[in-house]
Chain length 355, copies 2
């Protein structure tokens, strides 16, 4: 079968229809043929977990109307062969059950395995067959029937058996953030660096705060937008200081961080709203590092913002892949009751909104 | 005078009209009142140097029609009080003569000094008074009469007397790139790292190649788009290997870099076209670093592109400010005949196009 087609590529280049030659992530449209190339695997999809920036954009563009949101996602997937929001460029991840693994698939998966993908939906061939009838548009976790294709280099992980599926999915969705935070804090110059987490009561934020502490942070400053989040973070015990500030207000944010023991040697941006670049830069000490995990980050705003205030800070694009990221994140949620409490609260909020 | 107005800020917050509270770079509109706050300086503008991505966008959007391009720039500056291209988000820089420095200006400038700004036009209050009558739309260097405002923290530098003004301006425009490249190559793990410069025959590329070598690169691989650029780079002697590849073709680019001694430990992206993220990531060794200097870089394409191919690479937003950047770049163009030759060729091309 495969012999009559284009040669397969572990990067999935053979599935790119338009424009030819680009990587699947950059493609406008992918080939969703269910038949596998030898190193691919096909997954029966159970649930999509839309990226936070994408879900927010869809919800706002369609005034929270479930039917319009369903239609928008179906249109995107039908047109593009993948769930990549054309406005945000971002995707999300999925869970499902392996239907078939090609004879040369290097992923170590077998039919029947329950898995989560650790590569973005923005590069994963996807077909939806149930019209998303089970999704009410209130949560980024989207019940879905359909199938998806994993390439040779598409990282996936078996869902852990000791954690509820919704919790595990929420953890795996953001597992790159704590892994990269750990690495940067552990290798920061000097000892016991000050770390500011913007959005510390969220999913990636709480994991990153725990990872920073484990990596040797001398002080973790948690920034949250309002009193409710501050209380949640205080209960979790993940920050040495908690400040309430609007991350889009550079002067307010940097003043609040300074008042809590900053500026930070490492600032981690975990909020999914646009316009946080300037505040993060001003909250960071000269010679420090900003890690941007938000998909709402603007490259030019970051580059020109730092230049514009003569800030000698290292700015990192938050790479979602760091070796061992899934294990580190799952270990943190198992070992840190505060992190687990934040996640259980977030997952419950979704269930409640969806209920 | 100033006492009746908002208090001044070294960041220029007092000049932000819309939306209130953001930094000037993020603002839609700035206040261009010529009267100075105490720590500001006013410059009589001689020339704007549009950012390469912005110039390319304007030229393509207006089919190279000079009148339409002039009108577009005038409309932007009139509406926004600054030259920030709404499509690319980027600006450029300017040269001029200091008209007045406020009594508390910390920049060390005096009336009559010929200077270049080292902060972006995207945050610099600007008024144009000559209708850009002297610009034919063929070059990003735009003759211009008008005035601009420098804040307390707006870095500017006196134009060197030993270099032609057009040459100095072209060097200062991109001086952040060689400075950051030097720092990253000098501190890369291991000795004598392999460095790939994408767009090595351009302005920021040639300076970055020279900086990489000076910082201890073991091998500099210069990537250029066609034979003419390859010949220019060969004459300049700035690369140990030269390869011709389309930076938007990830497989072609990474294959070419691998064939020339790669993958690279450090990859420096100096081309101003969109879609180079995937190729740069695939050209870089696991554990290596990509520095994105192009304002056409997409944050999400970089973040999701690396994750999508399981690439453990550090990705840096090219901060235009590194202490000592102007001096390092000017020193390189003085000391390296190859860099100077590239710049003289580029400046001459502009003059020719404009002639």
């Amino acid at each position: 079968m495969a012999s009559s087609r284009r040669p397969g590529s572990p990067l999935g280049l053979h599935r790119v229809l338009d424009p030819p030659g680009v990587l699947p992530q950059a493609a406008w449209r992918l080939d969703t043929t269910p038949a596998l190339w030898p190193d691919e695997a096909r997954v029966r999809v159970r649930r999509l977990n839309l990226d936070a920036a994408s879900f927010r954009q869809l919800r706002e563009a369609h005034q929270e109307d479930p039917a319009a949101m369903r239609a928008a996602v179906l249109d995107i997937v039908s047109a593009r062969g993948k769930m990549q929001n054309p406005v945000t460029g971002s995707g999300g991840m999925l869970t499902g059950v392996v239907e078939e693994a090609g004879p040369e698939s290097p992923l170590g998966l077998q039919a029947g395995d329950s898995i989560a993908t650790l590569v973005s939906l923005s590069l994963t061939p996807l077909a939806i067959t149930d019209g998303l009838a089970g999704w009410d548009g209130k949560s980024e976790q989207v019940p879905c029937d359909g199938y998806a294709i994993l390439f040779g280099r598409s990282i996936a992980t078996r869902l852990p058996e000791d954690l509820p599926a919704g919790l595990a999915l929420a953890v795996l969705d953001v597992c790159g953030a704590p892994a990269l935070t750990h690495r940067i804090v552990a290798t920061a110059p000097g000892s016991a660096p000050v770390v500011a987490i913007i959005g510390a009561a969220g999913k990636s934020g709480s994991l990153s705060a725990a990872a920073a502490r484990r990596a040797g942070a001398g002080r973790v400053i948690g920034v949250v937008p309002h009193q409710g989040e501050a209380a949640l973070l205080a209960d979790a015990g993940l920050a040495d200081a908690i400040v309430i500030a609007d991350a889009r207000d550079p002067v307010g944010l940097s003043g609040a961080v300074a008042g809590a023991g900053g500026p930070a040697d490492v600032t981690v941006v975990c909020v999914d709203v646009p316009g946080c670049e300037g505040g993060a830069i001003l909250s960071t000490a000269q010679g420090g590092t900003v890690i941007f995990f938000s998909m709402a980050t603007s490259f030019t705003a970051a580059a020109l913002g730092a230049e514009g205030v003569a800030a000698d800070v290292t700015m990192l694009v938050g790479n979602g892949y760091v070796p061992g990221h899934a294990r580190l994140a799952l270990d943190l949620v198992r070992a840190e009751p505060g992190v687990r409490a934040v996640f259980e609260r977030r997952v419950a909020e979704h269930a409640e909104q969806a209920g």
